[in-house]
Symmetry: C2
Subunit: 556 residues, 2 copies
């Protein structure tokens, strides 16, 4: 053991690193991998921040994205919105400090939720071009311009060239230069990203100026703000023991555990607190919440699970809307068949509410044309934000491929002109990675997405079997008709009757018989449909049991 | 615009968060999603830290992992190694501070590279059971025990109950309790993880005690330490402008740019510095490296790319080894056919060296048995660590499915008893997520993995076509023989000769003919093989051009 290196020697290499340093080294985790993807990531971060800001301020969003080529692999992006702007004194915290922001700690549905995206862009600009980003911001009362970059070692902002400008400037404009990127018209490019964003955000007006100076206007199709999702309190069924302890130890106003519970959680009435007090008699409900211990919290959470609660508040969720999903699908795909379902909100991990919308399109421009014909396509959104990358590891993709498509008349999903659109909305979307391009494999989410897609697919089955019957019938008819001519010639020779007359009679006979055949088949189909309808009713009842708003439901 | 909310109101919600808070909320990003996966993640973090520590200290690893069920969904994990231990004064930094460690900033191939895994376990224990982890550590000079947890808000360690123990205790033992986990014998469970770890680390002795008390011993099969990968300096072709600036601004010893370059990069001889000085005449090589500007660094990096360099140092890479991969495959799969290839090191992103090993197994226990027969399987390793999750988004999986398997006699990879094993070793593995379960889609890596698999598959083609020929020949022979009996009866009737004699003669005739047929086909095959060999030679030459160690190569 002479060559053994001792611990002291090994650990003299010990260092701590800032979160910025970590993401500088692992920028692919933020979505900066591949030139096309990297540019889309920048536009994604800026435009979804703009949409969030406008929504929060109650302003109908108008966003302009300008992309210019500076030199090979180097592009500028200018993102201008009509939002509320960012106050001068905190611009550095908001756009040049990783893990700083307004969204991370709040219980409200927003596109951003991490406090990483915007600062990530500032860092990506710095590490690929060495340049700061340029900000112009006006809040109505005042306006300014400045340069902004990030000190990576300390994860602190560096603001320079700050000047006040005419306060007529309203909104936020960010100009940045980025290297190692590429503008491309593809399924993963900026154009496609903004087009899909427009489709899921019909209240937004989005304008893209591409590197060739070509303008694309995605015009606002709804001039009303969508219902603003309300900030909500966590539901008792959605908290872990650790969550409860965190809330208790950080509570500000409550002097007693009982009032802390009532103040902190939704659906926690005084009656419910009293009920819990009865259930967990060895926990002192008058104690200071800051003194709550793990064992006590664990007992409370167990009692939460054994109590009947009103389902989570649905006002916290904002979906695209059934009509809008329909318009969206028609708009992009103009399919032969289409069906859209908006499900009732559900919960995952015990009590975090989410809602799924799904649409299926068949024929028209649905699916994707490939060399051998068609391939099925999954169009994914989370909180109305298009997800263009990492599809293979996403819960939405898993759910769609978990559907037994044969039952719905689709022999192979991979070989049909079919598109499935899914949007998942939640106060907390459990992304699988920091780059937020795929939803983690939460079993309850996968199940619910699958149910939504199956709901949609029921109509598809009827459409496909109609199509198939039509085809089968047509082929039977054609087969018989093919022999009519030959048969009439033979019969004419035998009987001496005119061939032409025989052929006409035969055809009439076949047409009559075929009509009867058709009627019989249609009858058979409609009884199948009734059976379908019954099935559906049963599933709907199940829905009601577990997801009805306002009804009491058990946690276990 | 009466309802417009102003920026000051919106941004009073601004907060900064610690990296621990971020991962507490998004623990799925660390691999804590799903009960089985979460337990495997804990064992993965502890055992790979043990292997790294032993390797660094030059000790043949002996690792014991004990998993016990405490109550439903709650398990304890004890991980004991014979490594160098961790000094008392820094135990908190090492195992209870996210983004702190010895690995992140060093240019050396190790299993861990982020300074997140171990502290992540401490946090996961805290948030699922409220408990600290318990440490026993001995460095040879002294030994101690303590409890350790993490203050999530501040990302700081909390050490309690520290006591000195008998200094005979050597190595590190971590005991932790974890909730929301499950022990399961499956492809994604602890047993499978450790079995694969043993297979890729033949110098390690690994012992698992499962929750039923059953012991599994993965015995050491090589009693020599693998060549320790050397810490290396970055290669000039692997740095970006931003990297160069970071190095320059943080350089300690160098007073001049010229000496900084020579001191910092590998393959940077005095001659090379002189050559660069000639190429970039408007950059002052005598200037203080701390004063280096972006534009200057950009010019230098451009010059790096236009210079011929000796390829990156290969001592920085430690692969499993061809013989060991063969033994591994034989050990797990005992296939009918097997081929293994260890490629030469390559670079990605301009200059980060990596090396790919690949193995293909067909028949035996290769592939996976499914209801309809078989399915192909990809067995992934990065730096000898098994990757059990997120396969669909991994560069290895992409590369394998990018292979045109038909060319190699495999009609559908998804339906054959075939396993493909790939290990990627590098100083920096570009993982797609913080949980390190998939390699990002780096085009150069995908290409190289694909080449490695194709190299392997060449042998497979020959095997499969041999198998197929044998089958075709056998079926021809059987078809003919089936008629011999009937034919001999007919001929006997016509000629009056004995049926038995005729049958014997006919069979002899066919056997003679068939033998000729066989020889002819074998000849045809062997000329195919020659052609194959030629193809292979051409590709090998290409290899030599671009990857030969010691030869000069151009960066562009």
């Amino acid at each position: 053991m002479a060559n053994v290196v001792e611990a002291d020697t090994i650990f003299k290499e010990l260092r701590s690193h800032s979160i910025s340093e970590f993401f500088r080294k692992n920028s692919q985790m933020l979505g900066y991998s591949g030139k096309v993807r990297s540019l889309t990531t920048v536009v994604h971060e800026y435009s979804s921040n703009s949409l969030d800001a406008c929504e929060e301020a109650g302003i109908l969003p108008e966003i302009t994205v300008e992309v210019k080529e500076i030199s090979e692999g180097k592009y500028s992006v200018r993102n201008k919105d009509n939002g509320p702007g960012i106050p001068k004194n905190i611009i550095g915290k908001v756009l040049a400090t990783v893990l700083s922001g307004t969204k991370f700690h709040r219980y409200i549905q927003q596109r951003g939720q991490q406090g990483i995206g915007g600062s990530g862009c500032t860092m990506f600009s710095l590490i690929t071009t060495g340049k700061p980003i340029h900000i112009k911001s006006g809040t109505g009362k005042s306006a300014y311009e400045c340069d902004l970059t990030i000190d990576i070692k300390s994860n602190r902002p560096v603001v320079t060239n700050m000047i006040d400008i005419d306060k007529d400037f309203m909104g936020l404009e960010i100009y940045g230069e980025f290297g190692d990127v590429k503008y491309e018209m593809s399924d993963h490019g900026v154009y496609e990203y903004l087009r899909r964003t427009a489709l899921s955000n019909p209240h937004a007006s989005i304008r893209l100026v591409d590197p060739e100076g070509k303008e694309y206007n995605f015009i606002r199709s709804v001039s009303q703000m969508p219902a603003r999702p309300k900030p909500s309190s966590p539901h008792p069924l959605g908290v872990t023991t650790n969550d409860l302890l965190e809330y208790a130890h950080n509570s500000v106003d409550s002097k007693k555990l009982s009032s802390f519970l009532a103040d902190t959680f939704s659906r926690m009435s005084q009656n419910k607190v009293a009920e819990l007090r009865e259930m967990v008699r060895d926990v002192d409900f008058d104690k200071d919440p800051h003194q709550l211990q793990w064992a006590e919290a664990e007992k409370l959470v167990k009692a939460f699970k054994e109590t009947k609660w009103i389902a989570p508040d649905l006002d916290t969720l904002s979906a695209i809307g059934e009509e809008q999903v329909k318009a969206t699908i028609k708009n992009i795909l103009n399919p032969q068949f289409m069906n859209v379902v908006e499900r009732r909100p559900r919960v995952f991990r015990g009590g975090i509410p989410f809602v799924v919308e799904a649409g299926i399109a068949y024929g028209g421009a649905a699916g994707k044309q490939v060399a051998q014909g068609y391939s099925g396509v999954v169009i994914r959104f989370a909180n109305k934000v298009p997800l263009l990358f990492d599809g293979s590891s996403c819960a939405i993709t898993s759910a769609v491929s978990g559907v037994d498509w044969k039952r719905y008349g689709i022999k192979e999903f991979e070989k049909e002109p079919i598109s499935v659109l899914v949007n998942v909305s939640s106060v907390y979307v459990p992304y699988s990675g920091v780059g937020k391009q795929a939803i983690a494999q939460e079993p309850e989410m996968i199940d619910e997405i699958k149910l939504a897609v199956q709901d949609c697919a029921r109509g598809l089955q009827r459409y496909m079997s109609g199509e198939r019957n039509k085809n089968i019938q047509a082929s039977k008819y054609n087969t018989i008709m093919r022999y009519v001519n030959q048969l009439s010639i033979n019969l004419s020779e035998i009987t001496g009757k005119k061939q032409q007359d025989i052929e006409t009679e035969l055809k009439a006979l076949i047409d009559r018989r075929y009509k009867k055949l058709l009627e019989a088949e249609q009858q058979a189909n409609s009884s199948e449909q009734e059976q379908d309808a019954e099935e559906k009713e049963i599933e709907t009842q199940e829905d009601d049991e577990s997801g009805d708003d306002g009804s009491e439901e058990s946690g276990e």
